[in-house]
Amino acid sequence: MPGSLILFYVAAAFVLSGGIGVVVSKNIVYCAFSLLVSMIGIAGVFLLAFAEFLALVQILIYGGAVVIVILFALMLTRIEDFRDISDNRNRPLALVISLGLLAMLIASLVRTPTPQGDQSAVSMVELGESLFTDWAIPFEVASLVLLVALVGAIVIVRRDAGDEEQGDPS
């Protein structure tokens, strides 16, 4: 068995165990930690697929920023409120949606041709050029959306004008 396959299984185990942890864990903070494990596993999969840049972005954005913001929010809320939640009326709906998503994913997996032979990493120069020429407009739109969200967050957090700034808008 080649080494990369072993690494793939390790990464996959991370992804799966993390995912299961998110769903199963009763403690909401554990859920967030499991999410992080899953994210790092995905970064590992990206790395094995020679997408170094994507892997690092995965760690930076999801592992570093998103999970931490989630944790941040969780710690500011009252954990006791979530401790007893074991069931939800929307469970059938969630089941339908998740099954649908699963079907979609499987379908797309089956339809996508598997590339054969050695893959090499996309060079950073190519990536940057395509991002800022072909995909410049979507890129800018995405950043605009984020900016709007940022400003909106500040507006919401700010209690009343003239008051000192509250915390960070991240």
């Binding site: 080494g3 840049f53 760690i59 592992g63 931490i68 941040f72 700034e165 960070d168």
Partner: protein, 385 residues
């Protein structure tokens, strides 16, 4: 991947671990001695010659100390937190070159890798804060999360400025680019932003609010003791050293020497020594700042980060882009950067809370007070001015 490759990776990791541990030991000793000099003390003198074995004694003491688990602590999270802080600090070292030859694994995306991995250490602090089941620890953890995420932005942006100048994310390439002129001269503003935000990322004075001893009593680490506590500080000192080396590599020209007359092994050794000399200068600066400055408050820290450093870091990128795009000579960038830096200092000086007149304390002569026949304190009160 053959067995020998795995073995080589393991060997490299062990060597890296050993050298980094050694560096940390030296660094704790150096910091204690440096602070002692600043404060006119003697510092450690007992263990070994001039106290040089003090860090070893300290670590032995910490390792043999009892590990305490608070009753209400979340066992798993509590024990895992030190590891979560330590691993990113260690992983960063994989790609940092200390000379052109000596590097564990030189990555093309080296700089990006470092920024990505460094973010993860926040998580360890949050875990420590939450797992300790102590309010002080939670407050410290939340402070750490807010602070570290905020300063991530100027930190990355300052690095980006360097990457634009060097047209590369490869650290050896960046050093090679600085052969003629170091980027500190081209981007003084970038250096300022990098150092300030790096201090905040490290949680060192004046940004040490997340483990402020006088406020949150050590923050996330308040409940830890013994070996686990020492791992936190191992990580902290590793990060300090990383930042110092990065500053040298990114801004101060790394190991590059105008004309290095030697080749091969001698060249590598001399480069390493030159790099270490520069690094210790940066470290001294960090210690010096620690010995001088008080701590900021959380809202001031956030305001400083978001209102000053983030806009400045964007401006830094903008002026770099303009100069590079129009192919202007680099001294133009130096001038622009310098002007912005001076402006930033002025802003700090004229900041609303510190610009209020300082001489609010006036002197009232005792003679004047005595000469008043019937004295009533409120009548002469100047409180209303």
């Amino acid at each position: 991947m053959s067995l020998s490759e795995v073995f080589i990776i393991l060997a490299k990791a062990v060597i890296l671990m050993l050298s980094v541990s050694l560096v940390v030991l030296v660094l704790t000793y150096a910091e204690r001695k440096a602070l002692a000099r600043i404060q006119q003390r003697m510092g450690p003198t007992r263990v070994g010659f001039k106290g040089i074995l003090q860090p070893v004694a300290d670590s032995l003491k910490l390792i043999t100390k009892e590990d305490i688990l608070p009753t209400w602590a979340d066992r798993g999270v509590y024990w895992l937190a030190p590891i979560a802080v330590f691993v990113p600090a260690f992983l960063m070292w994989v790609t940092i070159p200390v000379t052109r030859q000596i590097v564990v694994e030189n990555l093309d995306l080296g700089l990006f890798y470092i920024t990505a991995v460094s973010v993860l250490s926040v998580l360890g602090l949050l875990m420590a804060g939450w797992g300790s089941a102590s309010k002080w620890a939670v407050m410290g953890g939340l402070r750490a999360a807010g602070q570290l995420i905020s300063y991530e932005i100027p930190f990355i942006m300052a690095i980006l400025g360097v990457a634009m100048l060097a047209q590369s994310l490869d650290l050896t390439e960046i050093v090679a680019q600085q052969h003629s002129v170091s980027f500190a001269l081209v981007q003084p503003l970038g250096l300022f932003i990098f150092l300030t935000s790096a201090l905040a990322e490290l949680g060192r004075t004046p940004f040490d609010i997340h483990h402020a001893e006088s406020e949150v009593i050590g923050g996330p680490f308040v409940e830890y003791s013994g070996a686990h506590w020492s791992i936190f500080f191992l990580a902290e000192y590793m990060n300090t050293f990383t930042i110092a080396v990065l500053t040298v590599l990114l801004f101060l020209g790394g190991w590059s020497w105008p004309t290095m007359p030697f080749e091969g092994f001698l060249h590598a050794t001399l480069s390493l020594i030159w790099l270490l000399i520069k690094t210790s200068a940066v470290l001294w600066l960090i210690f010096w700042i620690r010995g001088t400055y008080p701590r900021l408050r959380i809202d001031q820290l956030m305001a400083f980060g978001w209102k000053l450093l983030v806009p400045l870091s964007f401006l830094n990128i903008v002026i770099t882009a303009i100069v590079l795009f129009y192919g202007l000579p680099l001294w133009v960038l130096t001038c622009l950067s310098g002007i912005l830096l001076v402006g930033a200092v002025c802003i700090i000086r004229l900041n609303s809370s510190s610009s209020m007149e300082r001489d609010t304390v006036r002197l009232v002569s005792a003679k004047d007070v005595r000469s008043k026949a019937k004295f009533s304190p409120l009548e002469t009160s100047g409180g209303a001015e």
